[in-house]
């Protein structure tokens, strides 16, 4: 089950609806510093539940929602849709948050709890995010992290 697309609106540096198509194989994301590459990774982590993000890039709604620039005002909502698919199956996950902090999850269009999304992923052999996402700066720190960190990853595989 691979990632077909990620759609972002109001999320970090993506104020307007942006669709990013992915294919099987190897996709590289390139560009100058500060242009939003890691923000795409943040969007994937956030749509899948947002907690336990190792990066210090902020989990509060004001860090998640587009907060404007010196010419444009902030927005009031951030919304990310992740579409996964394989030959037989399709899974569309959505996470939305408002400035108030109110947040909603949807799976295949219906309002759900985060737990149901996590179960649906688990049933499709998609592990916890730490297993398949290595955030910027983390690869150098992993080796000297506590042994329990490595255990957790092994438990994901087991």
């Amino acid at each position: 089950m691979f990632i077909k697309k990620i759609e972002l609106q109001g999320f970090k540096s993506f104020p307007e609806r942006t669709k990013i198509i992915f294919h099987s194989g190897i996709t590289a994301i390139v560009g100058p510093n500060g242009t939003g590459k890691s923000n795409i990774v943040d969007a994937l982590l956030w749509v899948l539940g947002g907690q336990r993000s190792k990066s210090l890039k902020g989990e509060r709604s004001e860090d998640i929602i587009f907060n404007g620039n010196t010419q444009r005002p902030p927005l009031g909502m951030a919304d990310v849709i992740l579409s996964l698919a394989d030959e037989n199956d399709k899974l569309v996950i959505n996470h939305r948050v408002f400035r108030s902090g109110e947040s909603e999850y949807r799976m295949n269009g219906k309002l759900t709890r985060l737990k149901d999304i996590q179960d649906a992923l688990w049933n499709r052999s998609i592990a916890e995010k730490e297993y398949f996402v290595i955030e910027q700066g983390q690869i150098g720190l992993f080796l000297t992290s506590k042994p329990v960190e490595k255990r957790l990853l092994l438990e994901e595989a087991a």
């Binding site: 194989g25 939003g36 587009f66 620039n69 444009r72 910027q136 092994l154």
Partner: protein, 158 residues
């Protein structure tokens, strides 16, 4: 369960030794329980010995050696339990040319079973990609994406 975890540990350990020798072109590595007498709670420790060097504290490994050893660990997990997709943010930053080439080879070998999304500034990494997305910020704080065509592969990026 305990037996499931120990089975995973044994098999991932074997894969870790294999992948480490591939990435380092030699040497040896293993995974151990920090506390053999409490397998259900014990952390997992990594031992790594680049070719010809001695087994010593992980902290004495160089920056690039630490990155490569961590990558070996993740690839070993994937050999035991493949992940459908894997997102890597600048994991190649500390690798020299030779180590980078071996890492890229390994990623290419498993890209049929695992979709890779890799953020990078490195042109060698871009060269193994099947598709490339580029980010820019024409307007501050607003990401625009564009696709980069890979002519030599005769494939149009999305």
């Amino acid at each position: 369960s305990k037996s499931q975890f120990l089975k995973a540990l044994t098999e991932v350990n074997q894969h870790f030794q294999d992948v480490f020798s591939i990435l380092f072109n030699g040497g040896s590595a293993e995974l151990n329980l920090s506390d053999e007498s409490h397998p259900l709670e014990s952390g997992v420790e990594i031992k790594a010995q680049p070719p010809g060097k001695k087994v010593q504290t992980l902290s004495l490994l160089s920056g690039g050696e630490k990155s490569l050893t961590s990558l070996a660990f993740f690839f070993a997990l994937f050999r035991y339990k493949p992940t459908p997709f894997c997102v890597l943010d600048e994991v190649d930053a500390a690798l020299d040319e030779v180590n980078l080439a071996r890492f890229l080879d390994l990623m290419k070998k498993i890209k049929d079973q695992t979709q890779f999304i890799i953020i990078t500034h490195n042109t060698k990494t871009m060269e193994v990609a099947d598709y490339i997305h580029g980010t820019t910020m024409a307007e501050p704080n607003i990401t625009s994406l564009y696709s980069i065509q890979l002519e030599q592969k005769e494939k149009k990026a999305s």
